[in-house]
């Protein structure tokens, strides 16, 4: 197909950015028989789903660090297990309290009930109602993840059919659950959790996932949805379960790259795209930073919506109203990350010996109030003095991450601003940010600092510079109601297509959003194939 349409080599499709979504889209297109080239500006693939060795034999999941949302349909269709992907569930989770107590989460239902019951017997049973209601909402939303959202203003048969699908599902919920759904999508995590739990520590533990990657506090409206977003995945049919990719998150990207290669696709690393070229309202390829032009009939951008249209395209090629909306798209940096090589397993005196709860996500924020104060610091343009951390030691479960007996710790930090009030990010400020996090951990783990062999400290500014995510926002745009479903990323452009013919968005700026789900990439590929009159691989 490509050979006969152009004298010089014209690709069917170029994918800008080898993030996991770019690779997912590339795989689907290559499997449909297209000639696909992936361009990546870094010397390695994966974007924010990477495993890198920055210190000795330690492997870091530098950015994203745990996996749940990656759609099983994608894993299956692209044969990722054959290409080395294995996902292993966590074994627990916990929040350590300032007074030396703790709340653990256990897989075993009875152990969990007794554990929550230590803090409140009533909450132990309210947890069942909480899980039920979260599952009810997940059941409603999940089928929409792998579908192109309808354009509510369109009268095309497909849009009307999709709107009907949505309406029927919504109506099928019944009056009470419809009301619950609307509340869920708009209320704050704190208000939501108050409807179930009385114990501060229980609420604080569950509130964590409502703020991860989000420039909102637990009392901000809209955060209940973010909480739900984190429950939407599953591992082997255990809904809401999270796990480690064996070999780090790069294992996902590497498996995708291998699957892509096996279908005849090609990836060029160290090939930063300067511009997506447009002629007569239609793309004709890209130009690299070194001036090399590459021709293609289609260009899929894995970059976020702001970076795609404001930094990689000529404004003259785009409608002004569209550009205004792109400029206003909310994509604020709020998260940092520490990757730490440890000489041994840290001790957490709050956790009873032999408890498996450290083999999962660990936290130290024991009230919603503390979480909200951490957010206040972000609003003031500083990193949280008492940050919310999502801390894991994957090497306890995955033997490939660190030398035997040593450990790799991943620490996700909320909140950390993209722009500091005191001035630009520099080495001193980055170190001070890192010290704040390390002090926070050390308060719960005596001797922790002595175990540190190496630490990679990443601010939103660093993440933007290395990965390319605007402001370092991990979801390529906030997951708030105004930016979800047919409003993601821009009303009227929620179907992966853009104002320029042949240019598509395939990153998590598009529906259904971020979290290493792969769904935006898969859906974008399907949109492309539909436009070409072809079918996607099952």
């Amino acid at each position: 197909m490509s050979a006969r349409t152009a004298p010089r080599r014209e690709h069917d499709a170029i994918i800008v950015g080898a993030g996991h979504n770019g690779l997912v889209a590339a795989c689907y297109l290559a499997r449909a028989g297209l000639d696909v080239l992936v361009l990546e500006r870094n010397p390695f693939v994966g974007g924010a789903a990477v495993s890198r060795r920055l210190y000795g034999e330690f492997t870091y999941s530098n950015c994203s660090y745990v996996c749940s949302l990656l759609r099983p349909e994608i894993i299956r269709a692209l044969e990722l297990p054959k290409f080395g992907l294995q996902i292993i569930p966590y074994e627990g989770g916990c929040t350590m309290m300032r007074d030396g107590g703790h709340l653990a989460l256990y897989d075993n239902h009875d152990a969990l009930r007794r554990e929550i019951g230590r803090h409140s017997k009533r909450d132990a049973e309210a947890y069942e109602r909480y899980s039920r209601d979260v599952m009810r909402q997940c059941k409603f939303i999940k089928p929409m993840l792998m579908r192109e959202p309808p354009d509510p203003t369109s009268f095309k048969p497909r849009d009307i059919a999709e709107l009907l699908f949505l309406a029927r599902r919504f109506h099928g919920l019944g009056e009470r659950r419809m009301a619950d759904t609307l509340r869920f999508w708009t209320m704050s995590a704190a208000d939501f959790l108050d409807e179930y739990f009385e114990s501060e520590i229980v609420k604080a533990h569950f509130a964590g996932s409502s703020i991860i990657g989000t420039a909102l506090g637990p009392r901000s409206p809209g955060t209940a949805y973010v909480l739900l977003h984190h429950y939407m995945g599953d591992i082997d049919d255990t809904v809401g379960a999270w796990g480690f990719a064996r070999g780090g998150m790069g294992a996902i990207s590497n498996a995708l790259a291998a699957s892509f290669g096996a279908s005849g696709g090609r990836i060029r690393a160290d090939a930063p795209v300067a511009r997506i070229l447009v002629k007569g309202g239609r793309t004709r390829g890209v130009v690299l930073e070194d001036g090399e032009e590459l021709a293609a009939r289609l260009v899929l951008s894995n970059l976020d919506v702001r970076r795609t249209f404001l930094r990689t395209m000529d404004p003259q090629d785009l409608p002004p109203d569209f550009l205004r909306q792109v400029r206003n798209f909310k994509i604020r940096g709020s998260s940092g990350k520490l990757n730490i090589a440890l000489d041994g397993l840290p001790r957490f005196p709050a956790i009873p010996p032999e408890s498996p709860c450290t083999r999962g996500d660990m936290h130290v924020t024991d009230t919603i109030e503390m979480m909200e104060r951490a957010y206040d610091d972000w609003k003031d343009g500083r990193w949280s003095r008492a940050p919310y951390i999502d801390m894991l030691i994957p090497s306890q479960i995955d033997p490939t991450m660190a030398p035997n007996g040593k450990h790799y710790m991943s620490v996700f930090v909320q909140y950390c601003p993209y722009e500091l009030a005191e001035g630009p990010w520099n080495d001193t400020r980055r170190r001070a940010f890192g010290d704040t996090v390390i002090e926070t951990i050390a308060r719960h783990s005596p001797g922790f600092k002595d175990l540190i062999l190496h630490a990679e400290i990443r601010t939103p500014w660093d993440i933007e510079n290395e990965v390319g995510l605007t402001e370092g926002n991990i979801f390529q745009g906030e997951l708030t109601m105004d930016q979800l479903l047919f409003n993601r990323p821009i009303p009227g452009y929620a179907q992966y297509r853009t104002p320029v013919a042949g240019v598509y968005l395939c990153g998590s700026s598009a529906h259904p959003g971020g979290g290493v789900m792969g769904a935006p990439g898969a859906n974008a590929a399907r949109a492309v194939l539909r436009d070409l009159g072809r079918k996607a691989a099952a």
């Binding site: 109602r129 039920r132 009873p352 498996p356």
Partner: protein
């Protein structure tokens, strides 16, 4: 010997009952199950031996994991009367009532037995923990609702010779108990409350005691029952007996409305044939408005008893209108070969069009013939779901056997 005391819950999630040290050595086949947070025996010797003891002699069953709530206070009666669909004001002190309660949409939350211990104190025994719901329902009432599962040990003594066992144990006074009546007695030195209740549909009693007295009461009964064929039984044999008696099993024959995730999987009392427990004349109760609508419109599906041709239990079977399996009517919820009735029985949810007694339906059964699977369409008749109800269960004073 008993490591449950020191083992933390994350290493040993299941509790052990106060009878564990007695039951454990008698369990020959190491078959245990988790039940409401406790480890209990599923089979002691063989299911068949234990089952026939229920219908032929006497059996001891550790009932401790049954979830128990103490409901007490000046408003306890009003509270329960709003919660429960029956008229609780008619429940006299010293009596027990089988009852159900529903959510606002009229869907069944659970069934259980309500004991009236005094004017202002009740005990509610349920299959699942639900303090979240019971406490929410208590707002505005001067009532204390607390779970007392761990504070009360319980044994079911069931079978035709169970009254004889009580007499041999020096508990002759309990012989006067009528069905659903409660009495307080001394078992040796231990105070026990005895109710003439059970889950077997046979003559039987339930004994409620302080956990500290549990082993002494067990020993007393086991000694007294030696000549009356008394043996401990596990949950598997009991399940056969309860199915013969037509009793529902929560999470098997219905799912609590508190746990349903999908729309339409909750069940109302009309669908489950429990509408005889609804008292629309008593004033308001939870779910009433929704249930009045169901009463007018009639249920669209119903739980029925099935008598199925052949002898292969129809576990998890789908039910059709004809042998051609074109029109689906529902599915079996519980099935067993009844050793006493010599019938292949089941409980099933079917479309209301085929729920009348005497209707014929077809059941799709998969047969494992030495690892070669076959599908068989078996004819079944809709019958009264009480498959076995011997007169001896009601006789007062009870017969010797």
């Amino acid at each position: 010997m008993d490591d449950s005391v020191s083992a933390p819950h994350f290493l040993k999630p299941l509790l052990r009952t106060p009878f564990h040290r007695r039951a454990r050595p008698l369990c020959q086949v190491e078959e245990f199950i988790a039940w409401a947070g406790y480890s209990t025996v599923d089979v002691f010797t063989t299911m068949e031996q234990e089952y026939f003891a229920i219908r032929n002699a006497a059996t001891l069953y550790d009932l401790t994991p049954m979830v128990k709530y103490r409901i007490a206070g000046p408003d306890a009666l009003d509270y329960l009367n709003r919660l429960i669909t029956r008229d609780v004001t008619k429940l006299k002190v010293g009596r027990v009532a089988y009852c159900i309660w529903c959510d606002d949409a009229g869907l069944l939350i659970d069934d259980g037995t309500l004991f009236r211990l005094s004017e202002r104190e009740f005990r509610l025994c349920t299959a699942m923990r639900q303090i979240d719901w019971l406490a929410a329902a208590a707002i505005g009432f001067d009532v204390v609702v607390e779970e007392v599962t761990e504070q009360v040990a319980a044994l079911a003594l069931q079978g035709p010779t169970s009254a004889s066992v009580l007499r041999a144990a020096g508990l002759d006074a309990a012989m006067r108990l009528k069905p659903f009546e409660i009495g307080h007695f001394e078992a040796g030195a231990a105070p026990v409350m005895i109710s003439r209740t059970g889950y077997t549909g046979d003559l039987g009693y339930e004994l409620w005691m302080n956990p500290a007295d549990a082993e002494a009461v067990w020993d007393l009964l086991m000694t007294a029952g030696r000549t009356w064929g008394l043996r401990p039984i596990g949950s598997r044999a009991l399940n056969v007996a309860r199915l013969e008696a037509g009793f529902l099993s929560p999470n098997v024959d219905f799912l609590s409305a508190l746990h349903t995730i999908r729309v339409g999987t909750g069940r109302n009392p009309f669908e489950l044939g429990l509408d005889w427990l609804l008292d629309f004349g008593k004033g308001h109760f939870n779910g009433r408005r929704a249930l009045e609508q169901v009463r007018r419109a009639g249920p669209s599906v119903r739980l029925v008893g099935l008598d199925i041709d052949g002898n292969k239990p129809a576990h998890d079977a789908l039910i059709y209108a004809g042998a051609s399996a074109r029109r689906r009517l529902g599915a079996v919820t519980s099935a067993v070969w009844s050793p006493t009735c010599k019938r292949n029985i089941a409980l099933a949810i079917v479309d209301a069009s085929h729920a009348a007694l005497g209707s014929t339906v077809w059941v799709e059964i998969y047969l494992n013939r030495e690892l070669v699977w076959e599908r068989r369409m078996a004819r079944a008749r809709v019958v009264d779901r009480v498959f076995f109800a011997p007169e001896r269960r009601r006789a007062t004073p009870p017969a010797d056997f």
